[in-house]
Subunit: 577 residues, 2 copies
């Protein structure tokens, strides 16, 4: 008997808490797969409620609605096996996968390994599962598990293989950061080789607050070869025909799974799901979406993260302060890519310190993008402000950073006023180098609803901007923006380098300290000036309070500011003492 399974991996873009729309999407993918004669279709982790629901999980009404929704979905499922992520509510709550066939939930798998690190808090919510069943689908043995479960070499996949599973389906919601796709595929390939089984990995797609899910669902063979890969950063339905008969053949020649068999396999439940059907005559051609460069991945993550934040929160347009610098130029480009030029508005807010070049560059960028602009000079407001402050508070005290911050906050107020008047969302333009060092004005340039590039270091901002121009085939971000030295233009002749070390030196120090938690001595040993390292560490530590009040933005690194990095503000630890 030839055993072949047609497997479909669906990677929809869900919305947290939108049970109706999520169910509609799930059902439309199921219908599509039924038409394509698919045997088994899998959806990402927590497909029904959307991911991550965070403390919505503590609301009984939310849980109820989720249970209603999964049972409504089940009613619509015909001659296809559907694996759908949801929350099972029993004596406790579980991160779960429903195995549905012929209008019935045949079984529910509970996630065993609950991630509680980085951005994850699953021990806060769920009880862990304690069953590792193997499902019988069309005479094939299939193991289902959830996300983190597959990251453990002795996790459920291992036991499912020992009990005969020929295909392991892992349903995931794995947030993007640079390098993760390759890392994930390498690990899953090894699991395939260890289990001597096919592994189908389905991932979510889309943005949810600070997280972006990059899709790229894929299938590997028992030899660890990539058989199919879905689109990156886009909704997709990936279909692949798997020659399940090959598994026994391979296991006969590579008997590791057979040799490891012990008593555990006998404890594993076998659950019958769907009867045998002869394989289809025509097989589906495998489709492998090519990978992207690092800069392209980041660019797409930023576009998707921005688009979904804006659309899912119901904003018609976005508003960006354009300074003529690289940061606001890239943010405007990303917004235009995400939403179209008619939904992006640029605001120029020149002062007496703004150079002619800056205005020209901002205007050229807006023209190239085809977006509308307003120009609101801040000089008169600023002068009135200074006059009143001198008169009422500080008399003839010399000007200092205070006056710089006043300008930034007047600009923040202007952007927010336009936002309030028209109901548009302000996008902020600060990068990760600035966020790390606190080189930004709270309630000034930090004012806004979404901080598009807050996790992108300045040197990477340039690289992504270059990648953008290259992909567009022309210099939409004007050449001069790349060349001129970065400046906040808040006092005559100001340059970033007056306050910060050059970004080529600063960024690797920040990466080592912020993203990798390297000790001070190790960073110095990397070849940096000890005094400079101390100064940078001090800046980072001192500005925790600013980051606490920053808007959310897209996570693109393994350690972003946000749920990822939870430091106290009140903190006397000095790593170099």
């Amino acid at each position: 008997m030839t055993k072949r399974l047609r497997v479909a991996l669906a990677q929809p873009n869900f919305i947290v808490g939108d049970f109706e729309k999520n169910a509609e999407k799930i059902l439309s993918y199921i219908k599509q797969a039924e038409k394509e004669d698919v045997d088994i279709i899998a959806f990402p982790e927590m497909a029904v409620p959307g991911y991550p629901p965070e403390d919505l999980l503590l609301k009984p009404q939310f849980l109820e609605k989720n249970m209603e929704t999964i049972s409504n979905i089940a009613k619509e499922v015909g001659d296809i096996v559907a694996i759908v992520g949801f929350i099972e509510v029993k004596e406790d709550i579980y991160n779960a996968a429903a195995v549905i066939y012929q209008h019935k939930i045949v079984d529910v798998y509970h996630k065993i390994f609950l991630p509680t690190y980085s951005v994850f808090d699953e021990d806060r919510y769920f009880s862990r599962g304690n069953r590792i069943p193997v499902y019988e689908v069309r005479e094939c043995k299939v193991g289902v598990n959830i996300c983190e479960d597959i990251w453990y070499p002795d996790g459920p996949a291992h036991f499912q293989a020992l009990a005969g599973a020929e295909l392991i389906i892992n349903i995931s919601a794995s947030p993007f950061h640079t390098g993760k796709r390759a890392y994930r595929e390498r690990m899953i390939a090894t699991r395939g080789m260890d289990c001597l089984a096919f592994v189908a990995y389905v991932n979510l797609v889309g943005g949810q607050d600070e997280l972006v899910f990059d899709g790229g669902s894929f299938v590997v063979s028992p030899h660890g070869e990539l058989i199919a890969r879905a689109k990156l950063f886009e909704e997709d339905l990936l279909i692949a025909d798997l020659d399940i008969s090959s598994v026994l053949r391979i296991r006969l020649h590579d008997p590791r799974i057979r040799k490891e068999k012990g008593y555990e396999e006998n404890k594993i439940e076998r659950i019958f799901v769907a009867p045998y059907k002869p394989p289809k005559k025509e097989t589906v051609k495998p489709r492998i979406t090519p990978p992207m460069s690092e800069e392209e991945e980041i660019l797409h993550a930023l576009i998707v993260g921005t688009r979904d934040y804006v659309n899912k929160n119901g904003f018609k347009k976005v508003l960006i302060g354009l300074s003529g610098g690289i940061d606001s130029s890239l943010v405007a480009a990303i917004a235009t890519e995400a939403l179209g030029p008619e939904r992006v508005v640029g605001v120029l807010m020149p002062s007496q310190y703004t150079s002619r070049e800056s205005i020209e560059d901002a205007e050229e960028l807006a023209k190239n993008l085809g977006i509308q602009t307003y120009t609101v000079p801040i000089t008169e407001i600023f002068e009135t402000f200074k006059k009143e402050m001198r008169r009422c508070v500080w008399g003839n005290m010399p000007e200092d950073v205070t006056e710089e911050n006043i300008q930034a906050r007047i600009r923040g107020n202007i952007l927010m006023a336009i936002s309030n008047k028209f109901g548009w969302l302000v996008l902020t333009t600060g990068n990760k180098s600035e966020m790390s060092c606190g080189y930004a004005t709270l309630y000034g340039d930090m004012a806004g609803g979404f901080a598009v590039i807050k996790d992108v270091m300045k040197t990477m901002v340039y690289r992504v901007a270059q990648c953008y121009n290259k992909l567009k085939g022309r210099e939409i971000i004007p050449k001069r923006v790349f060349i001129k030295p970065p400046s906040a233009e808040l006092r005559p002749g100001q340059k970033d380098e007056d306050t910060l070390p050059p970004y080529e030196i600063l960024d690797p120090i920040l990466k080592a300290y912020v993203e990798e938690d390297r000790p001070y001595k190790d960073i110095v040993a990397m070849g940096f000036d000890p005094e400079l390292v101390k100064r940078v560490i001090r800046m980072v530590d001192r500005n925790e309070y600013k980051r606490r009040q920053a808007p959310p933005g897209v996570k693109i690194t393994p350690r972003a500011f946000g749920k990822d990095r939870r430091l106290p503000i009140t903190n006397h630890f000095r790593p170099f003492e």
Copy 2:
């Protein structure tokens, strides 16, 4: 042989990451206890690093420093048993208690129950312990465990009692919220009765970002009676003589512990710590600090939380926008109580909409408190702003909430400018009712470093303010401030009730929805108008983005906005649909 133990519970105010100062404090309490001939002294959970260190626990250098510090402390401990909370770093990291005697760490207990709910994230960091030893101190049997451990009826205390423990010492770091002290004491009294043992509970004191620890360390007898209670919200060293001989006598008459004994007791390690010493002739008189009323507890929590945030973060003075309303009046009173009048500065920022009464009330309050004030009228800045916005952006469009927000943000800018010029901290004055409904301007009245009353509902603000006046014995907060209807004074004749339901109705709805996660139907069933409940829920849900950018403030309820309540911004769940 008469067995008596002199036990000391130390509740110092530590600083997260200040290993030197924390060690100094620990040693000075140990010296003091040695002078008082104490047998055993206990310090709170994580005394050495300070609590909660959050992601500092992921920095190897931080962990090292903590290990160095505990071994330096051990060297100084003489003929007294000291139980000191720290982080043990071995093959993994543990939330631990060192049992120190005669310059040596005799044993280390590892916390078993790791709280991962509410503000706690301990599964993110620690491995759980798997040993439940009983210590022999002066011929007495002592069980040590940590915080959450004692909240489980079948936790380590239970097994320690079965193995003969006559005294259970629980070292805690238990954050304050209203009603928690009584709840805690009731539960521990029950544990004492269940274990038929003395229970000594030592708690931390002081503020750390959004948390306040309320001290009130105490001892209960095997009958569950309160024997001694330390000061509330203050550093203290509580000493009590415990008649350990009474435990056997009680167990002979009430044989539950004896009857429950099973094989587990034999698996429990007995560890010798300190030899017998005859009991002291004179016994220490038990001291029981009286409890406080709810309003007084809250007032003290706010004072301690504010004082510690300001001092531990090194600010000389604080700055408060005074509107003449109840919120800013209470915040100014709390700040003055916390820091003294010479460290508090009030700023009046009247506009064309500010009433004469408001200015008079603010000035009278400042006079009563003895604090300095500045007056910075915003009218001219506001007019310039409006003129420029009309000219450059919205022409003759009618005024709306935008112009109200512009005023609030001009005020935010003024406060932040003074903050920047002099290095003072801005305290914000929004209450929990406003924070819940988003009835506040982001970057306007929400601008500042610490939000003193952000977890206090408006109706409670009045009660706490009244309590304050009563404690001070005079109307420092002027009578009229209590009587006049609340108003933001951002347009002519504005009242809070134009936008919000009366606070007597709003606050219980908010409590039910925000603090108790009650479903919509249940709230309606409490007797509120369904449409009103919907409107309130909508306001709460829609303003998650504002709260995300709010400064930290003191948690005083079981569910504060902050680490306690982690909701997505992007969220389509509508609880009443």
